[in-house]
């Protein structure tokens, strides 16, 4: 749906983007994360068509939109709904009036505009605030109106730049729910730029990690968490080494990542039973990525067939990340 190809941008000789390449599948949510100064904002501004990249392309449905001007540029902007960073609503307009702005730009006539605004207010759950002014709304409500505005002109891509940075955890949840609904109900492709891994945890299908203007990691969240060395797994999964363990009391010690209800619930007891090994969870825990339960456990195994048990877990869909004790690389 939207692809970013080899994007570069520098400001006064400082490279903000060093050849960024990304690909977001239609109807999915990509989270772009990274430390401050990694180039997240610049990337967001380029995708929002507020900044022209020095080189590279941004394609929506195959068409490069970086080199457009005039009315073609304005039409392309309507393809990309933007939730800007910070307060961006018109304070002299009601919530409904703010949502109507992109529809006015698109030349949609009044009656259609009103019914579309009604749909969007419903989508973000603020129908009762239609006539309220931004100053009468809470930060979370304002941000949801900004999302509704971004979606008004039926864009194929929704870009949210730090949509939760100024919000408390509770309102963050309500804004993320709205983004998730937009994807689910409107089929829009979502690109969220954020420094908050919690956003990735809650709504992202894919993640791209940006560092010094480069993508250093890019893939499906549920795939990346199985990779021990990935930044995504270390940021999202429970720590396994909080409690020091006495390794000598086990024949094998290994970390495993289990993804999904079936794996989390059944894999370990099954392995223990099948291979007759004693299997202890000595560290780690359970978390949720979107709707999917994901566990990372540090296991201590005792029994002759410990290696076979670990191998079997790997084959059955668990990711055995490393064997801390015993032969390395027992399973993939």
């Amino acid at each position: 749906m939207i692809t970013v190809e080899n994007l570069t941008k520098s400001f006064q000789g400082v490279n903000a983007l060093n050849g960024v390449t990304l690909d977001v599948e239609a109807g999915t949510v990509l989270g772009v994360v990274g430390p401050s100064g990694a180039g997240k904002s610049t990337l967001a501004r380029c995708v929002a068509l507020l900044e022209r990249p020095d080189s590279g392309a941004i394609r929506v449905d195959g068409t490069d939109i970086t080199a457009l001007d005039g009315s073609a540029l304005r039409a392309a902007r309507r393809q990309i709904g933007v939730v800007p960073q910070g307060d961006s609503l018109l304070r002299q307009r009601t919530a409904a009036g703010n949502i109507a702005l992109p529809l006015e730009s698109a030349g949609i006539p009044g009656p259609q505009r009103r019914s579309r605004v009604g749909e969007l207010l419903d989508l973000v759950g603020l129908t009762d605030k239609a006539a309220s002014y931004p100053d009468q709304l809470s930060g979370g409500q304002r941000q949801r109106i900004a999302v509704a505005r971004a979606l008004a002109a039926n864009p194929s891509v929704l870009l949210a730049d730090e949509p939760t940075s100024a919000l408390d955890p509770e309102t963050t949840g309500s804004v993320l729910t709205v983004l998730d609904r937009a994807r689910a109900e409107l089929g829009v492709t979502v690109l969220v730029v954020t420094h908050d891994m919690g956003v990735v945890r809650k709504i992202c299908d894919d993640v791209a990690v940006l560092e010094q203007g480069r993508v250093v990691e890019h893939g499906k969240v549920l795939d990346l968490v199985g990779d021990a060395g990935s930044r995504t797994s270390s940021a999202l999964l429970p720590a396994v080494d909080l409690n020091p363990i006495n390794e000598s009391s086990y024949d094998r010690v290994a970390d495993v990542v289990l993804v999904g209800f079936a794996a989390v619930g059944a894999l370990l007891p099954e392995a223990s039973h099948r291979f007759g090994v004693e299997l202890n969870i000595v560290g780690g825990g359970l978390t949720r990525l979107g709707e999917t339960p994901v566990a990372r456990f540090r296991l201590g195994l005792n029994g002759e067939r410990s290696d076979s048990a670990l191998e079997w877990i790997g084959e059955a869909g668990g990711a055995v990340q490393r064997s801390l004790k015993g032969p390395q690389g027992v399973a993939a």
Partner: protein
């Protein structure tokens, strides 16, 4: 010591002079707004970080604007005589004063407007840009509408300033309240006319200020009251 001017005469003097002042100030305010607001918009659009940044245009506009603002009004009044004659067909009287008043006020309004428009937060403007709105629409629906209360106040400030400038209208026979106070009051030692005019000017400017403050407040849709 001659007898004081009867109050009924003072009143008719005041009525006539008020009419002249309101005419001169009213028409020149309309003209100054009609040209000054676009000037301010243009200054802001071409400014660094504006919607159409253009350093060269901005510098030239800014230079002309500040040149206009630095000119003492009394100098403008006489310097523009030939221009005035060209436009209104004469160089004396109330109508003739309108030309220098408007010319003097355009750069004044322009700077005020630019300062006010620059206060509209960049995030708000950029959000409108990302909706695919044209520059004209952003100027109208975002820059001007968002700062309308401040713009109305600025026009109010301009009116009061022009009432002040119009006191010099007497130099080219423009009449008005300032002229009345100087010519009939001060120069003829007529304290009754002088102080009546001063008092009336104070009341008049207060009323005008009040009116603009009210209008500005009425145009402000932000309501901080509880929902």
């Amino acid at each position: 010591m001659r007898s004081a001017t009867p109050w009924s005469d003072v009143l008719s003097y005041l009525v006539e002079a008020t009419g002249e002042t309101l005419y001169m100030v009213g028409v020149s305010t309309v003209i100054a707004t009609a040209f000054g607001v676009p000037l301010g918009v243009w200054l802001q659009l071409t400014a660094k970080g504006g919607l159409r940044p253009n350093a060269a245009v901005h510098r030239v506009l800014g230079f002309i604007t500040d040149l206009g603002r630095s000119m003492p009004f009394i100098v403008l009044l006489v310097a523009l005589t030939s221009v005035t004659r060209l436009i209104v067909g004469g160089s004396i009287g109330s109508t003739a004063v309108i030309v220098p008043l408007a010319v003097g006020a355009i750069p004044f309004v322009g700077r005020l407007v630019q300062n006010i428009l620059s206060e509209v937060h960049v995030t708000v403007v950029e959000a409108a840009v990302t909706t695919g709105a044209s520059t004209l629409r952003i100027v109208r629906s975002v820059l001007i509408r968002e700062s309308l209360p401040a713009l109305i106040n600025a026009i109010g400030v301009t009116v009061i300033a022009l009432i002040g400038y119009s006191a010099m209208a007497g130099v080219i026979g423009g009449g008005g309240l300032g002229d009345l106070a100087i010519r009939e009051g001060y120069q003829r030692f007529n304290d009754r006319i002088l102080w009546s005019t001063v008092a009336w000017l104070a009341v008049l400017t207060t009323l005008i200020q009040l009116g603009f403050t009210r209008a500005a407040r009425a145009s402000d849709r932000r309501r901080h009251a509880t929902v």
